[in-house]
């Protein structure tokens, strides 16, 4: 059994993300516009003036930015996983997972993931191996692109993974009282300042929350907080409140996504024959599961 660590400094992690973003977000695009360093040096004074202006701007409410209520586009996780340059599966971060309930523990122990320290070659029972649909929050955790399209009253999300789409109602309707349990649940969203908050209930308990076998019950209330930090960067924070599976709400640190202009979401369906072949060839090349994340 892994040790569940309490992370008390989520705020710090979040702050670090902000800082990194501000540094990277403002400096890199600026520099890339100036191919000549000579030219850059001659402009250094104006840059200083500009950055001073920036500094004063960051204190203003971000809602004034023209893109703050527009999340549309194709988004891809920033490569900030444990392996350098590779997007990590940490939008649902199991280092911050609260203790499991007895029900949750039973489900967790029965789960045989493909990855991580608990992977047992040949015994994997990840529902994705049967091409069951992946739903949120796992869908948001995997390192594949998604597209957001905003239409009146609704936000549509298109995931490359398994060609899944979901809709988030933002016409002011409340969450339904007693929805039928589904893979994707029923989602409503609203803007609070420049943060788009999605609340989802009505999940079934067939899927895992992540790739490591952490369970999802039908009592899950999922909160996603989206914020477009600048034109190219979307921040997503996932909060899982599932009293049947976890003793406390599971708050993961925010994860950043990069805008990918010109990308189109390709067709990728899960098909049983192909999945079994992939499993044989790629996932377990010599009968051994790939190295775990921890």
């Amino acid at each position: 059994m892994q040790e569940v660590k309490e992370v008390k400094d989520i705020g710090k992690v979040q702050d670090k993300n902000f800082r990194r973003l501000r540094r990277g977000g403002f400096s890199v695009p600026l520099f890339s516009h100036f191919p000549s360093f000579h030219l850059l040096r001659s402009l250094s004074v104006s840059i200083l003036v500009f950055s001073a202006t920036l500094h004063s701007q960051t204190t203003q409410p971000a809602a004034s930015a023209p893109l703050s209520h527009d999340l549309s586009g194709v988004w891809m996780q920033y490569p900030d996983g444990d392996i350098p340059g590779i997007p990590g599966m940490n939008a649902v971060d199991d280092r911050t997972r609260p203790p499991l309930t007895p029900w949750g523990k039973e489900k967790f122990d029965a789960a045989r993931p493909l990855v991580g320290p608990r992977a047992v070659p040949g015994e994997e029972n990840n529902p994705a191996l049967r091409c069951d649909p992946d739903g949120p929050p796992k869908l948001l955790n995997l390192p594949n692109p998604f597209e957001i399209v905003q239409i009146p009253g609704r936000m549509l999300m298109f995931f490359e993974l398994e060609h899944i789409w979901r809709e988030i109602w933002m016409d002011g309707r409340p969450l339904p009282k007693d929805p039928d349990p589904t893979y994707l649940g029923y989602s409503v969203g609203r803007w609070e300042g420049d943060t788009f908050i999605v609340e989802t209930i009505g999940f079934n308990d067939k899927l895992w929350d992540d790739s490591f076998g952490n369970p999802r019950s039908d009592q899950t209330q999922l909160t996603e907080r989206y914020r477009r930090l600048n034109e190219n960067t979307l921040e997503l924070q996932i909060i899982i409140d599932d009293p049947k599976a976890y003793t406390k709400p599971w708050v993961s640190p925010p994860k950043l996504h990069k805008l990918e202009r010109g990308w189109e979401i390709a067709e990728w369906f899960c098909v049983l024959d192909e999945e079994a072949a992939y499993d044989k060839v790629v996932r377990k090349p010599a009968g051994v599961a790939p190295a775990g994340k921890k």
Binding site: I151, H163, F269, L272
Partner: protein, 307 residues
């Protein structure tokens, strides 16, 4: 039946269907102009009403009622949830329409081999216990089959794109309407690559780049990676969408397969539900419903039932 006879029969059916199509169009036009106008007019203040009535009775009227493309406010707007009208045989049995087997051209040898290998779970060719419809393994239904099953779909239009959301298997597809051309040599996929353009008040969708895995219908008719699919959508009145499907697949069929139009009803207030295919549920359903006593469904064609 010789090929000449078959061709003649197809021609006769086509002519009959064209006549039916005209009739549908006429009926739709009649209702389309009269019904929605009236309640709107009642909301207008009296002076405006008088003004409008002046135009209404003006000599320009006959010119206005002749069908002009793009005249109605919804003619370039296909947005909404659409449900196929229940088509029925004379004996009351529901039928799958949109792609009609009776208008199917002769198969090529490749197509025939594929067709013979396909064992559907409805229609006259069923073999209980041996069905191999790819949807039994939850493979995506894909177009054009998704368009003919008795389940609703939603259309959403945004600039440059039309989305279609099918309740069946929770599928979605993109139709690019930003003027781009079809790709030269696309990778074969279940849904293919689709571009659309308006011709008058008809949205013409062209799709290529299919793989040859799904069937085009529930009866095992094949599709190859050479299939060029054309869908013609026309909102004949506010509540009615008409779709004509043309399959041009020279690897599977000796001629172009032209089916008569199918109509869909506008369903405001409907939401597309979540209906995923999962293998356990699918096989459970196949065991209990499709083959309740190990026998298999009746030989009469039945709709591809919602699982």
């Amino acid at each position: 039946m010789t090929e000449v006879e078959e061709v003649k029969e197809v021609q006769e059916i086509k002519e009959a269907e064209e006549g039916k199509q005209e009739h549908i169009l006429r009926r739709a036009r009649r209702s389309g102009f009269s019904v929605p106008l009236l309640p709107k007019l009642l909301l207008f203040p009296l002076p405006l009403l008088l003004l409008l009535s002046f135009f209404y009775f003006s000599p320009n009227l006959p010119a206005q009622t002749t069908p002009s493309t793009g005249a109605s406010p919804w003619s370039h707007d296909l947005g909404g949830v659409w449900m196929p009208f229940p088509d029925k045989r004379e004996n009351g049995e529901p039928v799958i329409s949109g792609i009609e087997e009776k208008t199917r051209p002769p198969l090529t040898p490749w197509g025939q081999a594929r067709f013979d290998a396909a064992i559907p779970f409805l229609g006259p060719r069923i073999q209980p216990g041996k069905e191999n419809n790819p949807s039994l393994l939850c493979e995506p239904e894909a177009v054009p089959k998704s368009l003919i099953l008795p389940n609703p779909f939603e259309i959403v239009q945004i600039p440059g794109r039309v989305f279609m959301f099918f309740e069946e298997f929770h599928l979605w597809r993109t139709i690019w309407t930003d003027g781009r051309a079809l790709p030269k040599n696309p990778d074969p996929t279940y849904l293919g690559y689709s571009v659309g353009k308006w011709e008058g008040d008809t949205l013409v969708v062209e799709t290529i780049g299919f793989n040859d895995k799904p069937w085009v219908d529930a009866y095992g008719n094949p599709r190859s990676e050479q299939m060029h699919l054309t869908e013609r959508y026309r909102r004949v009145d506010h509540d009615t969408l008409e779709l004509s499907i043309v399959i041009d697949d020279p690897k599977a069929y000796t001629k172009t397969w032209i089916s008569s139009p199918r109509r869909f009803k506008f369903e405001p207030g409907w939401e597309i539900g979540e209906y995923f295919c999962t293998v356990d549920e699918e096989q459970d359903y196949a065991g209990r419903i499709r083959k309740p006593a190990g026998g298999g469904p009746s030989a009469a064609p039945q709709p591809d039932l919602k699982k």
